[in-house]
């Protein structure tokens, strides 16, 4: 810019000099300055002037401003909230140093490996640092009076130093610490110790061992695992059998593919030096990023969640569109008032571009204020959302803080709103200022088209909302496959010392089941490794059938239970019998009907033998077939299940579940069960609850979907009804004279009412029809989020939505009808 001005002046001087008119020196600089100032400040000055003028103008229409701000505030607020929710859940950055250089390493395709594998990898020198953790730990915290199970993480001792995790007080676990140390989360520390800083350095009783608290994590700490997972305690691993997820820090300049190649080489050395019979370490080596988009791509379960959030954002974007159309409609109404002013401006020489800028200043101002309001709303909503306690087996806390991503998204929303609200009214104003008389009728029609469009979009949004609400209702009616109303569920965590060998565990289990079954009012009691909706173990194994040598790759949900399990849970045994003590002579299993259907082929299930197990050589005989139960969510497809007797397996976990069938309401049994468990083993942490309150996780997806989509649908309906009301009110006001004439000529109230209704009905019907058509096409892919049995194209949905929209249209027209009926013909005719 400066160069251009200087070049231009220099050229002029040269030409002048050539023609014999030398120009005195000295005033070029001033002239150039003048030029710069003119150009540079022009844009900003105009923008500021336009905004100030827009503000003055809008001050004269406070209702318009209020309606616009409410619409835009809600629209932007909803969008910002969903965006924050989605981006925090999917893309949260863990609280570590330099997250981009950390990777997650899987050897042999295992999510967690033994500590020997980790140490081998660390000593190979491939990575700058290697650390590991196991996040499925429950520790028993004894506060002196009671023992609480606490969700925690076992880590390698270099975890905190290698990852560079910032602490609030104290320090992280150090490599030269003894085994008896612990790091507490902020939540656990403030709840159990009331934020007492002197806890750092004190010892607390965990699993019967006195561990010194060395540090407290900050309140906004985000764990490496992500998705809001917030464990309460971190301990150094001290058991040989703990498997660890491996995290490594890349050396400077190392890329992920290079790291993987290096890891494969190390894995091959592992196969040579410490081979394992069942698999090869080098068979499935994966190195992936720990956060961000990279991570999302490599985990397929997450993609479904990501798609859900994408759809959510699309729907909330539609709601914002409805809000913007509202504001556009309001601005259109106002534009007719400004017609003369615009005509004058054009006459005295304002260019079209400048005029457009000035007219857009209106909507820019509204968009800026609306966005500010919306962001404030989103922040409040976010704070409320993070306080909600989710019924998940591990503690999950989403921390939503405004960051640059939200700022960019908000800027995009504001620009979109400005253009969506302002472009049409501005263009319309300019067109009609040039030829006023032709365009007055067109404008009314334009507003009606806009409202019809709003109604259509609202119908789409409402359809999705209704779909998810019905989904929730349907999923509540689905049977989980076992009895929920008469069952008590207890989750017990045995302390490692004293129960490290399987014999002692088996003794404890037998004794406890016996004593629990003897409680008054208890029908039957059983123990199990897994209870549906509260954890699960999936197996993928090769089964060999010796009768014809067939090998089948089978995936199933595994469980180990005591014989009374099926009775206690009221799971029907369709064929055969449950386990009995005489089964000790051979390996037996019970499978469900889905397992039979998928893997047994034409065989009769009872008595069928297949080879399975460590070397794939142990024969297992099927002695019973059970009805299927749900395992993880209520809406899942039928899953194959396999049960082994608890006495038959090598029980290597400290956690055991008990289920009891109660003849009296289960809530009355909880105290007795707690006391019994505490009496048998006081050092074990136990959680006792009714089964119905423990399966909250099953319904979580449908509940979340219904909440988010349902509220969005209602919001869209609300905004569309505001738009409809506005246009109808304006229409009645414009037709005041006509109505006055009709009344004077003898039209009765019914006639006037029908007139206004017809007007509104045309718009509503047109919009609803268009909306239903689009909704029909667009909602088909939503089937992936719904429980089986609910079809997105169910005609009942569309009927309900159409009805709701028409009813809303009626309600919105109520006010304008009353206005029309109250028109006094005398004053109406006198009005000009």
């Amino acid at each position: 810019m400066h160069r251009q001005i200087e070049d231009e002046l220099a050229f002029h001087r040269e030409m002048a000099a050539r023609h014999g008119n030398p120009i005195p020196l000295g005033n070029t600089a001033v002239l150039a300055e003048h030029g710069y100032a003119l150009w540079r400040f022009n844009f900003l000055e105009n923008l500021w002037r336009d905004l100030a003028y827009a503000a003055r103008g809008l001050r004269r229409s406070p209702w318009l401003v209020l309606a616009a701000l409410v619409s835009l505030g809600l629209g932007v607020g909803v969008n910002a909230t969903m965006f924050s929710l989605g981006s925090e859940f999917l893309f949260s950055r863990p609280s570590v140093r330099d997250a981009a250089s950390l990777v997650y390493v899987r050897i042999a395709g295992n999510s967690h490996s033994s500590h020997q594998v980790l140490e081998f990898l660390a000593s190979s020198g491939l990575f700058a640092d290697v650390a590991g953790e196991n996040e499925e730990i429950t520790a028993n915290y004894n506060d002196g009076a009671e023992t609480h199970p606490v969700s925690g993480v076992f880590t390698t001792k270099n975890y905190f130093t290698a990852l560079g995790i910032p602490m609030l007080y104290g320090r992280g676990i150090a490599p030269d610490d003894p085994d008896e140390v612990a790091v507490l989360s902020y939540g656990f520390w403030s709840r159990q110790f009331n934020g007492d800083r002197t806890v750092v350095g004190r010892a607390i009783n965990l699993d019967g061992r006195m561990c010194t608290v060395v540090g407290i994590l900050p309140e906004h700490h985000r764990s490496l695992i992500g998705f809001g997972y917030s464990p309460e305690i971190y301990l150094p691993r001290y058991l040989d059998s703990t498997i660890l997820a491996i995290y490594a820090r890349l050396k400077p300049g190392m890329s992920i593919p290079a790291a993987r190649a290096g890891a494969v080489t190390v894995a091959k050395r592992m196969d040579a030096q410490m081979p394992v019979a069942e698999f090869k370490y080098a068979d499935d080596v994966r190195v992936s990023a720990i956060a961000g988009y990279e991570r999302l791509r490599t985990e397929s379960d997450l993609m479904t969640v990501a798609v859900f959030f994408g759809m959510l954002l699309a729907v909330t974007g539609l709601v914002l569109l409805i809000a913007c159309v509202n504001v556009a409609s309001l601005l259109l109404a106002r534009a007719s008032v400004r017609r003369r002013e615009i005509a004058i401006r054009l006459a005295i020489g304002a260019s079209r571009g400048r005029l457009l800028q000035q007219l857009l200043a209106d909507s820019l101002l509204l968009a800026l204020l609306g966005a500010a309001l919306g962001l404030a709303l989103a922040q409040v909503t976010a704070i409320l959302l993070t306080r909600i306690h989710l019924p998940t087996p591990v503690p999950i806390r989403l921390q939503i803080e405004p960051d640059w991503r939200l700022a960019v998204y908000a800027a995009v929303l504001t620009t979109f709103s400005t253009l969506a609200c302002g472009l049409l009214p501005a263009w319309q104003s300019m067109r009609e200022s040039l030829a006023p008389s032709l365009h007055r009728e067109n404008k009314m029609r334009l507003r009606r088209v806009l409202v019809a469009a709003q109604v259509a979009v609202s119908v789409i949004v409402l359809t999705t909302g209704l779909l998810f609400l019905r989904n929730l209702v349907h999923s509540s009616a689905l049977s989980p496959g076992f009895d929920v109303r008469h069952t008590v569920f207890a989750d017990v965590n045995l302390p490692p010392n004293g129960y490290s060998d399987a014999k002692r565990k088996a003794g404890y289990i037998d004794r406890t089941v016996g004593e629990l079954a003897a409680l008054p009012g208890i029908d039957s009691a059983a123990a199990a490794r897994v209870v549906p909706f509260n954890g699960g173990t999936r197996f993928g194994s090769t089964l060999v059938f010796p009768d014809n040598g067939a090998r089948t790759q089978a995936f199933f949900h595994w469980n180990a239970v005591t014989p009374q399990f099926f009775r206690a849970m009221d799971i029907p045994l369709l064929q055969g019998r449950t386990f009995s003590p005489t089964d000790r002579s051979e390996m037996v299993v019970i499978v469900n009907t889905e397992f039979v259907q998928r893997y047994l082929g034409h065989r009769q299930p009872l008595g069928t033998v297949f080879l399975w197990g460590r070397e794939g050589k142990t024969p297992y005989r099927i002695i019973g077939v059970a009805a299927p139960t749900k395992t993880t969510t209520i809406g899942e497809d039928p899953q194959p299940q396999l049960y082994e007797p608890l006495a038959q397996i090598e029980n290597d976990r400290q956690e055991i579940d008990f289920v009891l069938r109660s003849a009296i309401p289960p809530a009355l049994q909880l105290e007795a069960v707690r006391r019994t468990l505490h009496r048998i083993e006081p050092m074990a942490g136990a959680q006792v609850a009714t089964m119905s309150s423990s399966i909250g996780l099953a319904f979580l997806p449908s509940q979340v979907g219904a909440l988010l989509m349902g509220s969005t649908g209602i919001l869209g309906l609300l905004l569309a009804s505001i738009g409809l009301y506005g246009v109808m009110a304006f229409s009645v006001a414009r037709r005041t004279r006509e109505i006055g004439v009709r009344v004077a000529l003898g039209a009765d109230r019914g006639h006037i009412t029908r007139m206004v209704l017809k007007d509104s009905a045309r718009v509503t019907l047109a919009g609803t029809a268009a909306g239903l058509l689009v909704a029909f096409l667009v909602t088909k892919p939503l089937a992936m989020f719904l429980v089986p049995g609910l079809k997105p194209t169910d005609p009942l949905n569309f009927a309900v939505v159409a009805l709701a929209m028409l009813a809303t249209g009626l309600a919105a027209t109520w006010g304008p009808i009353r206005r029309a009926l109250s028109i006094d013909p005398n004053s109406a005719l006198r009005e000009d």
Binding site: L31, G35, S351
Partner: protein, 110 residues
């Protein structure tokens, strides 16, 4: 604005002259000044101190547009041309000028 011998020009009038000159086609700044000078029988001499601010202002208001080009002696220069909006402006300002000068003449005659 200039030497004592030259009559003073109102700013609006300068815009009028510049726009009129540009009716003959695209020109660079010096050519515009020369055109005005010659068409006025060498009475009006527009200095760069008033010409260029007027040109820049007209461009910002959208009455004229500029582009880069080669001058008669193959030097890079900025050429201006009138826009449609400028044409309208010119017509209005011409009408205003005619009315104004007629009014002044009437006053002086009476």
């Amino acid at each position: 604005m200039g030497k004592a011998a030259q009559p003073a020009l109102l700013q609006g009038t300068l815009d009028l002259l510049v726009l009129h000159a540009l009716q003959r086609g695209a020109m660079h700044g010096y050519a515009i000044a020369q055109t005005i000078h010659l068409l006025s029988d060498e009475v009006l001499k527009v200095e760069e101190g008033s010409l260029y601010p007027a040109l820049w202002r007209l461009e910002l208001d959208g009455a004229i547009s500029s582009k880069s080009g080669l001058s008669e002696n193959n030097r890079k220069a900025k050429f201006y041309q009138i826009t449609r909006h400028g044409q309208k402006l010119l017509a209005e300002q011409e009408a205003t000028w005619v009315r104004l000068s007629a009014a002044v003449s009437r006053v002086l005659a009476g």
